[in-house]
Symmetry: C2
Subunit: 401 residues, 2 copies
């Protein structure tokens, strides 16, 4: 039976094993050859007497039998035999050297064999688990968040969150136009209005023609909705979730974080610190700008220069907030969470729960009649939502086409 | 601070509490009124001296303060005060009586306030967690399944899994036609060819114009891909996963299963029993039909009449299997898992890993060049995949439009 490299690294020297991995580098010397292999769980060096290693080249998959030994720098395998399972050839697009992200975008189907992308994927996998675990076990007030899947194909084009992808054959199929969702938040309120506390975690889509890191066509978001939460409850929930994801990565992806040049100590400090909470008005006093809204530069200044850590900014001017946010005379009951080096990763707000206030503000009353119905029949105070851009910025793997 | 009903039901009589719920039924008598409320975590009866309950009607959300007491049948709340948080009116579409599924389809935005749909959603939420937990902790051989999100928007229209939804503005946006994915399986192989063992769990789409329970436009699937697994390893993994989801529901959704008229004892027996494994040839001997393939009726006969339990059928005729399955002289190395009362919930196969055998069978070599590349550079034995229809059949919530 084959062992995975991640499991192997916890064994003691002397352990005899077989393992399968893809060859990353081969260094042939007179007496011995050194082969670095990776099986997706980690990588290890195989040392084997030099002989016929014709097909043992970068990209090939090989089965190695040998003994775990303590090498000069790390655990390694003293190989007894090597069997080539899948050949490779000189056209294999990943060479020994480090590759640019641009090159990796051209060989998307192999890039997860690189250490950088594999590490990002392993962190993403663990982060996903941490998210579900958090909502299931550590809901702030007491247990009871339900995981909900909101529809991807939707008839609502009026949420104002971004440009839509339209489905061509939808009028044939559904009898009306349909689009890919830009957010599950409005649908999420249906479930908060019955189950009390829910979260979504699934793909959303934007058709803006801006191909930058901030404008991906397809990315995953987390959108919780809770009744009976205050603004403070909500940003506390959001920061607890963010901290718990980071903490989980520190415990489960230590080497991956190092592979991505993240300093575990810095991350630990972020988890342990109190995160700054300020109003928009105070933020503008600090950045000393007179215009409305916070620019990317101002956000950067607040987190990287002034506070040197995460900042939660509350109560933005009501003119620049969407129809569903609860508003006072001048400001909305909302917040953005800003991280140094990343920018906005969470936005959240109290929802307007009063039918008479909300109704004139709804952009397409016919399409959103169902949404207004939630206010008509048994509305509840303090709907909240938050959403996470962290996936969009840190981990998204662009589609293969 | 408000308590959730699910948490309340574990407290001792005498506990004083406030809670928020939606009114399901109200029965006013001369001295006392009986109000059944639900907060999405569960339901409880409130008994309160009759007075002005004008706005306490079905659908309204109310805040109740009172004491937990042991009633004649179950725990109930002896109410001190009631505050109406959100009114309702006579047009609220859920009356006291039981509703047909057809009626609930007409008021999709309220149906999760019914016991049946709420129970299905709570089971689905727990099942999702059980799935992630299984792959993270209980991978059959040893740890190491990574959760991967494969693209929803894809250029591949040639997997043969079903009709596609086309994205109208995709040629503007991507410079070529794009579709909604029918399966993440081929992309999943990229990650199995680097990370070793992965699973996807996300939405897939089918544009067949058959609006039956078996043909939903949008549903979630689980698609694991493993290298170095045998056919037996794979169907053992699939049945272990299925058993672990059922077991998790038995432990966490006991009342919900009863609400959905499932007998927990029957489910426990299914978890404890050995599941039958037979070849397609043997299955045909039992059903005594000469045609090729297994019809829904034959599947039903095997699970409900002959074996009275889950049946795994292996090695279907190679003519009726897709291009990517490994084939022998007459049969493919694949299986279907059939459950009584449900039908096929899992299909799986060994993949053809040999480039020379696979290449002539690929339907669109240009679009799938990347897929063939996986065989060219470092192919590995025994790619496997399984996928779960359980979500499609049991839990899917049709989009709201």
């Amino acid at each position: 039976m084959l062992t995975r490299i991640s499991a192997l690294l916890s064994k003691n020297p002397g352990f005899e094993t077989s393992l399968l991995g893809w060859v990353r580098t081969v260094r042939q010397q007179k007496k011995y050859s050194f082969i670095d292999i990776d099986d997706g769980s980690g990588n290890i060096q195989v040392v084997i007497p030099s002989s016929n290693l014709e097909h043992v080249i970068t990209g090939a998959s090989i089965e190695v039998t040998g003994t775990l030994v303590q090498g000069p720098h790390a655990l390694e395998i003293q190989g007894n035999s090597i069997k080539v399972i899948g050949k490779s050839d000189v056209n294999y697009p990943l060479a020994k050297k480090a590759h640019t992200m641009e090159h990796l975008r051209d060989c998307v189907h192999f890039r997860s064999r690189t250490q950088t992308i594999a590490s990002a994927l392993r962190i993403r996998s663990e982060a996903s688990f941490a998210i579900h675990n958090f909502f299931r076990k550590e809901g702030m007030i007491n247990i009871g968040f339900f995981y909900i899947q909101t529809p991807i194909i939707t008839g609502n084009d009026c949420e104002g969150a971004g440009e839509l992808f339209e489905i061509k054959n939808s009028e044939d199929f559904f009898g009306k136009k349909a689009y890919l969702t830009v957010s599950g938040q409005l649908h999420g309120e249906i479930f908060a209005s019955s189950l009390g506390r829910i979260y979504t975690f699934g793909p959303t889509f934007r058709a803006e023609k801006s191909h930058t890191q901030r404008h991906l066509a397809e990315f995953w978001m987390i959108e919780p909705e809770m009744i009976n939460y205050s603004l403070q409850d909500t940003y506390t929930l959001a920061s607890n979730l963010a901290k718990s994801i980071i903490e989980h990565a520190l415990n489960n992806n230590h080497q991956d974080l190092i592979n991505l040049h993240r300093n575990p100590q810095d991350l630990e400090n972020v988890v342990k610190s109190e995160w700054t909470v300020i109003t928009y008005e105070k933020a503008k006093t600090i950045t000393n700008k007179q215009d409305i809204g916070l620019s990317t530069e101002e956000e950067k200044y607040l987190t990287e220069n002034h506070y040197k850590g995460p900042v939660i900014v509350t109560n933005y001017p009501k003119e620049i907030t969407p129809f569903y946010m609860k508003k006072g005379d001048k400001f909305a009951e909302n917040f953005d969470m800003l991280l140094p080096g990343v920018g906005e990763i969470v936005g959240g707000s109290v929802r307007e729960e009063n039918f008479d206030v909300l109704e004139p503000l709804v952009p397409d009353k016919k399409a959103l009649e169902w949404y207004l119905d939630l206010r008509k029949y048994g509305t509840a105070l303090d709907f909240m939502w938050i959403f996470f851009w962290v996936y969009r910025k840190m981990f998204h793997m662009q589609g293969l086409g």
